[in-house]
Amino acid sequence: MIAIRKNQTSDIPGIASGSLLGIEHMAAAEIMSLLKAAARMNPRRSRPLLRGKRVLLLFYEPSTRTRSSFEIAAKSLGAITTLVQSSGSSIEKGESLLDTVYTLRAVGADILVIRHPNAGAPLLAARHLDIPVINAGDGMHEHPSQALLDAYTILRHKKTLNGLHITIVGDIYHSRVARSAIHLFSKFGAKITLCGPADFLPELAASLAPGLHLSRTVEDAVRGADAVMVLRVQKERLAGKKISLQEYILKYQVTAERLKLAKKDALLMHPGPIVRGLELTSEVADCPQSVIVEEVQNGVPVRMAILARALGKGKGRR
C-alpha cells in the first residue's frame, strides 16, 4: 500500500487535514473562513498558490458545472489537473474505489476531488489516503462545495444568513445539494422551510438539522422567503410514485405567480441542471431575481478557496 497515513494534524481522526467531506461535521467558523477566503480569490487574476501541485479529478458520474469549475479553479491556482472518469479507465475493468485512489496517489496526486454515486465514498477514500480529499458530490449524501457557493452567493446579496428565511422546493430526499445546504444554513441560524410531496420529502427530513419546517404547499413555503432554492426533479424518479408528473407541476412548480409571494428582493436559486417547465418555469429561471448563473460563476472562487485550504494556502491577505 503506497498511501500510508502519517503525521497528520487532521480535524477528523484518520483524515488528512484540508479534506472537505461534508458540511455536517464542519464548524460555522470554518465555513466562514472558507467563504472569506473565496472573496479574495479572483479567477481572472491567477494566483499560483498551488503551482506544480497535482489535482486529480476522479468522476464516477457525469458532471458539467462541478467538474469544469473545479478544473478551472485548480488551474487558476497554478495546479496541474488530470481528469479520470469511470468510462475509459480501469474502473470499467472492475478496479475498486480504493485501488483506484491508491493508483492516483501513486502517480503523484496532491489533492483528490471525487464525485461518486455512492454515499460515503469520499470518506472511505479519505480514511485510506494521506492527502486531502474533496467531496464533489456523493450519492444522496452531500455536495459541500455547492452549499458553500450557495452561501457565498446569498451573502453577496444579503448581510447575513442569520434569521434569513430560506425555502427549498423539490426532490429533497434524493438531493445531496439539499442535505449540504440544510446543514450549512442551519449552522448560521437561517429559518429553513422544505417543500415537496411525501415521496420527495419524507417526515424524516425534519430530523436532519434543528429548526426545520416541512410544508406540502408551495405557496405557504414560498410566502415571505428571502431565498427560494429550487431543486431539479428527475422524471424517472417519479415513476411508480404516488404523485404524477402533471400533478407535481401543478402543485409544486415554481411559477412567477408563486415567486411573487416571496419577499420582493428574494433570490431565486437552483443548483442546476435546470429542467425548464418542470420544477420551475422558463420565465422564473430567467427572471431578474434569478441568481442561477451567478451561482455557477461563484463556484470558481469558492472552489479555489477549497483547494487552497486543502494544502493550507491562501489564508492570509494577498
Binding site: H116, N118, A119, L123, L124, G139, H141, L204, S207, L208
Partner: protein, 434 residues
C-alpha cells in the same frame, strides 16, 4: 460425528443451569461414551477411571445451539469454511450450529445436505444443515422436503431470499407440516427494500442511504402467521426478528396458540441504527440495526418469553467485500464468538435478565425450535454436549484473534463480561481457555 467411545469425564464443582430440567444448583456431571451418564449433587459421583474437569466458580450448561449461521461451504470457502466456522462456534461455546443453505450452489438436494455432514468437512462441533425450500432458492419450485429431512436437514428455509409468493409459502408450510419440519423465514418484503442498505431512520436520511422500513419485516411475518394457522402441525420460525411491529405479530400468534417461534441476534439486542455512524460497514447487516424503540421491544420480548432463541446470524465475508463503499458492502457480520458475552453483558448485567433465561435462549429454546433430540438439556442419556462458562470474567474481544476467517465484527475492542471456558461436544473438549 463423535460417535466413537470417548471415555469419561467428570465435571466437578460447577453450578449447573439446565432450564429444561429446571435445574439451577451446584451439581457434578459425569459424561461417558458421548452421553450424559449422571447428574448429581456435589461429591456424590465417583468414577475412578474418569478425567476430572474442575468447574469451581463456573456455570455448567447444556451445549449451546445456534439456529442461524452461514458457514459458506460449499462454494465460498474464501469467506469461511465449515472447519473455521465451527472452530469459531466452539470458541463461542456452541456445540451445535444450524447452517443456512444460501451457499454456492444452494443446498437444495439431499446430496448437498449429506456433503455438509461428511467428516471431510472437519467440523469441530455438530453441524445441522438447513435445506432450501425451493430449487436454488428461486421461490418457484419446491424441493423434496422428505428426502432433505432424511438426509439430515433440521429445517427448511430460503434464507436471504424470502418466500414472498403466497401460494408457494402456503405449500411450503403445508408440506413441512406433514413431516413435522420447521420452516424458517427471513421476513423481508424485498419488493420494497431494493437498494436499501440500512434501517429507515434519521441516520439513513442523514447519510443519504435508502432505508428499509420496519413494516417490510412485519408484513411478511403477519402473512406467514396467517398461513401457518391453516395447517395443523405447521411450525413457522421467524429468523433474526428485529422490529417491535413483527414482535407484536409473533406475540399475538403465540397467544392464539399458533406454533410460531422466533430468534434474535446479539447485534439486534446490543446495537441500534445510529451506531452505523459514518458508514461503518461492520454495522451493515440484514435485517439492519433498528431504532431504539425496536431494541427496547426486543429486550422486553427476550424477558417475557416471546423470543425463543438467541441466534448469531454469523455471516462472514472477506475484507474486500466489506472495506468498500457502504452501499456496495455485503450484508452481514460475524457473531459466534461474542454471542454469550453480549448476552451476559447486555441482557444479564444491564437488563437483569436471569442467567437461567439466557441459558434457555441458547439451549432448550433453540433445541425445541428445530426439534433436536437429546440436546439442549443435560438429562441422563442425552448427548454429552456441554458449555462451561465464567459469567463474571471480564475480557476484551479482539477480532484479529477470531477463529473465523472473517474480520467483520462491530464488537472489536469491546470490553465484555462472561467468557466461555470449555466447550464439550460428545464428551470431548473441543475448546478450552484458561
Amino acid at each position: 460425528m463423535n460417535q466413537k467411545r470417548t471415555g469419561s469425564l467428570l465435571i466437578r464443582g460447577g453450578h449447573v443451569i439446565d432450564p429444561a430440567a429446571k435445574l439451577d444448583a451446584p451439581m457434578d456431571i459425569l459424561l461417558r461414551d458421548g452421553h450424559v451418564a449422571d447428574v448429581a449433587p456435589p461429591n456424590k459421583l465417583r468414577d475412578a477411571s474418569s478425567e476430572t474437569f474442575d468447574a469451581r466458580g463456573l456455570i455448567v450448561a447444556p451445549g449451546f445451539i445456534d439456529l442461524h449461521v452461514h458457514l459458506r461451504e460449499p462454494g465460498q470457502s474464501y469467506k469461511e469454511t465449515i472447519a473455521s466456522g465451527s472452530a469459531a462456534a466452539a470458541a463461542g461455546g456452541f456445540t451445535s450450529v444450524c447452517c443456512m443453505p444460501n451457499t454456492l450452489p444452494i443446498v437444495d438436494s439431499p446430496e448437498w445436505v449429506t456433503w455438509l455432514q461428511l467428516p471431510d468437512r472437519r467440523a469441530v462441533v455438530n453441524v445441522f444443515p438447513i435445506a432450501a425450500a425451493t430449487h436454488a432458492s428461486k421461490g418457484a419450485v419446491l424441493t423434496d422436503f422428505r428426502a432433505l429431512q432424511r438426509a439430515g436437514a433440521v429445517a427448511i428455509s430460503d434464507d436471504g431470499r424470502p418466500i414472498l409468493n403466497d401460494a408457494i409459502m402456503r405449500e411450503t408450510l403445508r408440506l413441512a407440516a406433514e413431516i413435522g419440519i420447521p420452516v424458517i423465514q427471513h421476513a423481508e418484503d424485498t419488493r420494497v427494500t431494493e437498494h436499501c442498505s440500512m434501517n429507515e431512520s434519521p441516520t439513513s436520511f442523514r447519510l443519504g442511504l435508502r432505508g428499509m422500513a420496519a413494516s417490510a419485516e412485519a408484513s411478511v411475518v403477519e402473512r406467514d402467521v396467517q398461513l401457518a394457522q391453516q395447517f395443523t402441525g405447521s411450525r413457522l420460525h421467524v429468523a433474526h426478528i428485529s422490529t417491535a411491529e413483527a414482535l407484536k405479530v409473533v406475540r399475538r400468534g403465540k397467544r392464539n396458540n399458533i406454533r410460531v417461534t422466533c430468534e434474535v441476534t446479539p447485534h439486534h439486542f446490543s446495537l441500534v441504527d445510529e451506531d452505523v455512524g459514518d458508514y461503518d460497514t461492520n454495522f451493515k447487516m440484514n435485517p439492519p440495526l433498528r431504532s431504539v424503540a425496536d431494541r427496547e421491544a426486543i429486550l422486553v420480548a427476550l424477558a417475557d418469553g416471546t423470543i425463543d432463541a438467541i441466534a448469531s446470524d454469523h455471516a462472514p465475508h472477506a475484507l474486500h467485500e466489506k472495506v468498500v463503499e457502504f452501499e456496495r458492502a455485503m450484508f452481514g457480520i460475524t457473531g459466534l464468538e461474542t454471542a454469550l458475552a453480549l448476552a451476559i453483558t447486555k441482557l444479564h448485567r444491564e437488563q437483569k435478565i436471569p442467567l437461567s433465561r439466557i441459558v434457555e435462549l441458547f439451549t432448550s429454546g433453540p433445541a425445541r425450535v428445530v426439534n433436536l433430540k437429546g440436546r439442549g438439556s443435560l438429562a441422563r442419556g442425552n448427548h454429552a454436549d456441554v458449555t462451561i462458562f465464567d459469567p463474571k470474567k471480564r475480557w476484551t474481544f479482539e477480532v484479529g484473534k477470531s477463529r473465523s476467517k472473517s474480520r467483520d465484527s462491530p464488537f472489536d475492542g469491546w470490553q465484555l463480561t462472561g467468557k466461555v471456558v470449555a466447550t464439550i461436544v460428545g464428551g470431548r473438549v473441543v475448546h478450552r481457555t484458561d
